[in-house]
């Protein structure tokens, strides 16, 4: 009799929770500390920033005028120079370039590594090495960008010289507008591929062997197995990787701040750093608030996706 009741309870829907407690005040005590902290230090500031973005520097309400101004500014989108001249192209475009280059690289490399390392001896060590990038402070990543691409002591430059690409090898990438953005993006790839790799690794491990065995019985080649079994089953994992990676690329700050400060000549500037400069160097809070809001708007689609999947989980 006891068993039947528990089973019924488990079958009830997720969000209804369990009717374990009908005391109406208990949830309050459990939730209060968290909710208070989040309201004070997260939600209220968000609303404040939003409000700030509609004010002029003097404090008068100007609605969307700030937004129009910022979006037209060359610091955000420099249509004169994009795409045929070298950067600076505007912070928004730079973030887009981050996504355009960093996302495919990390997704493919992560998947590739996960596949290669699936049945290799010593894979866990190699995976740990690749994952190191995720573990360390991103400011160290910024240091690495300066260091590895330095014309005198950078190991990348040595390799480039070896291949014969002298024009790229004999400059320190973080000091030249043509290469600064790329240097930061490449270090970003080095740091973030570990995430993509372990997500794919976990997903690959979760695919039941029987699927492959069944396909082999039917005479399918490795290639066909990959295309028709593996890839489709990896779709959820891919979604997760893409969403989290895009979020990371939009919010990137530490690496660029340390490697180039956004320069030279704003050639590697990203939205997060531009916001910081406007707020705490130029003390133009309304412009900074607009940038912050814009950045947040860009992160909303991934955020909503996360929320939907989080709530829909069993």
């Amino acid at each position: 009799m006891g068993n039947c009741i528990s089973e019924d309870r488990r079958k009830s829907t997720l969000m209804a929770g369990d009717e374990m407690s009908q005391k109406n005040t208990t949830p309050l005590f459990f939730l209060a500390p968290a909710v208070i902290l989040i309201i004070v230090f997260v939600i209220y500031p968000i609303v404040q920033t939003l409000w700030l973005s509609f004010l002029s520097p003097k404090g008068e309400f100007v609605g969307l005028r700030n937004y129009a101004q910022i979006l037209r500014s060359k610091e955000i989108i420099n249509s004169d120079r994009f795409p045929f001249e070298c950067p600076p192209w505007g912070a928004l475009i730079h973030n887009a370039v981050w996504i355009a280059i960093h996302l495919p690289l990390t997704v493919f490399l992560g998947l590739f590594f996960a596949i290669i390392l699936k049945d290799v001896k010593g894979a866990s060590i190699i995976k740990s090495i690749v994952f190191l990038g995720m573990v360390m402070p991103m400011v160290v990543g910024g240091l690495m960008a300066k260091f590895l691409f330095d014309k005198d002591i950078g190991i990348v430059n040595v390799v480039l010289r070896f291949i014969g690409l002298h024009s790229l090898a004999d400059i320190s990438w973080t000091y030249h507008p043509e290469t600064a953005l790329l240097a930061t993006i490449l270090i970003g790839v080095w740091m973030w591929t570990g995430f993509s790799m372990i997500v794919y690794s976990a997903a690959l491990a979760a695919i039941p062997r029987e699927y492959y065995e069944a396909a082999e019985i039917d005479g399918a080649s490795s290639f066909r197995k990959f295309i028709h079994i593996t890839l489709p089953l990896l779709k959820p994992a891919t979604l997760v990787v893409v969403v989290m990676t895009v979020l990371w690329e939009l919010k990137i700050f530490d690496i660029v701040y340390v490697a180039t400060g956004g320069g030279p000549g704003e050639a590697s500037m990203v939205l997060a750093i531009l916001m910081y400069i406007k707020a705490f160097v130029a003390f133009n809070f309304s412009e900074a608030a607009v940038l912050a809001t814009l950045l947040t708007l860009l992160t909303l689609p991934p955020a909503i996706w996360i929320a939907k999947t989080a709530v829909g989980r069993k």
Partner: protein, 277 residues
């Protein structure tokens, strides 16, 4: 035969991956242990090789930006900002997992969306709040912000974990007359040790690695955290590369050690709440 060749190829490629990926870290370490004159033309030159710990000592005791104090500060803040949010989040997560109450879904959704928020969206008001509360440039201020900031993802993770716990145990305790809080403290938490380890390791690392929030809130020399110290070393104080790399090694070794020791929990923490399984 084909199987053998592809395995060999796989092993070679795997090795290559490992070598290429560890090069940046090795580079930093190489420069950290050698005097700058030796590595001026690249650390791969081993003509002269006199490893020394001098750079580490200099980094720790740098006259204008000593890393030793920075490491201590990072430790204090990360420790406190690791315990606090985990406990507070566990409470909230339990409520979301086990209780039903009005606006539960909306509240949960809101908290989850906070996870994706850029820190820039809260920076300015947070700065102003801290000044008003007198918490600017204090450990407490930074810890509070980190706590609040860590709550959303920890709540999500723990709530998902709690949902997987068998409810019968809790029900049985209720029949015995235990209060909700006692059930939470004495039964649920002990059963959740693996999950708690995961979030603790991740949160500590996250706070240790943070730069932006520290940049926002803390500015007096004796309170700067390790990540800030490294950045100032490169930026304002023009530290030579050897000392700089030694400092970087010291700052990154802590999260790496935590990862090495808690690897299983760490990875589960990262993957566990984003993917089924």
């Amino acid at each position: 035969m084909k199987g053998k060749v592809s395995t060999v190829v796989a092993h070679v490629v795997a090795l290559l991956i490992g070598v290429v990926w560890i090069l940046p870290v090795v580079s930093i370490f190489m420069v950290a242990i050698r005097p700058i004159r030796e590595i001026l033309h690249g650390w791969w030159n081993f003509k002269e090789f006199h490893p020394t710990l001098k750079n580490f000592v200099e980094a720790l005791n740098h006259p204008t930006t000593p890393l030793g104090r920075g490491l201590l500060n990072s430790f204090i803040i990360a420790s406190l900002a690791m315990i606090t949010p985990v406990f507070i989040a566990a409470l909230a997560a339990y409520a979301f997992a086990r209780f039903s109450f009005p606006i539960k879904t909306y509240l949960f959704l809101t908290i989850i969306i906070m996870m994706a928020m850029p820190q820039q969206m809260v920076a300015i008001p947070l700065f102003q709040i801290m000044i008003k509360l007198g918490l600017i440039n204090t450990y407490l201020g930074l810890i509070l912000v980190h706590t609040a900031w860590g709550l959303p993802w920890i709540i999500l993770f723990l709530r998902n974990f709690f949902l997987t716990l068998p409810i019968e145990v809790e029900e049985a305790a209720r029949v015995d007359g235990a209060s909700d809080f006692q059930i939470f403290l004495r039964i649920v938490l002990p059963m959740s040790l693996p999950a708690l380890l995961s979030v603790t390791a991740l949160q500590f690392t996250w706070v240790w690695n943070d730069f932006f929030l520290a940049l926002l809130i803390v500015y007096s020399p004796d309170k700067l955290v390790a990540t800030q110290r490294i950045v100032w070393m490169k930026g304002k104080y023009h530290t030579p590369w050897d000392t700089l790399c030694a400092g970087a090694t010291l700052v990154m070794i802590v999260p790496v050690i935590i990862y090495a020791v808690f690897q299983k929990y760490y990875v589960k923490g990262m993957v566990g709440w984003v993917i089924k399984g």
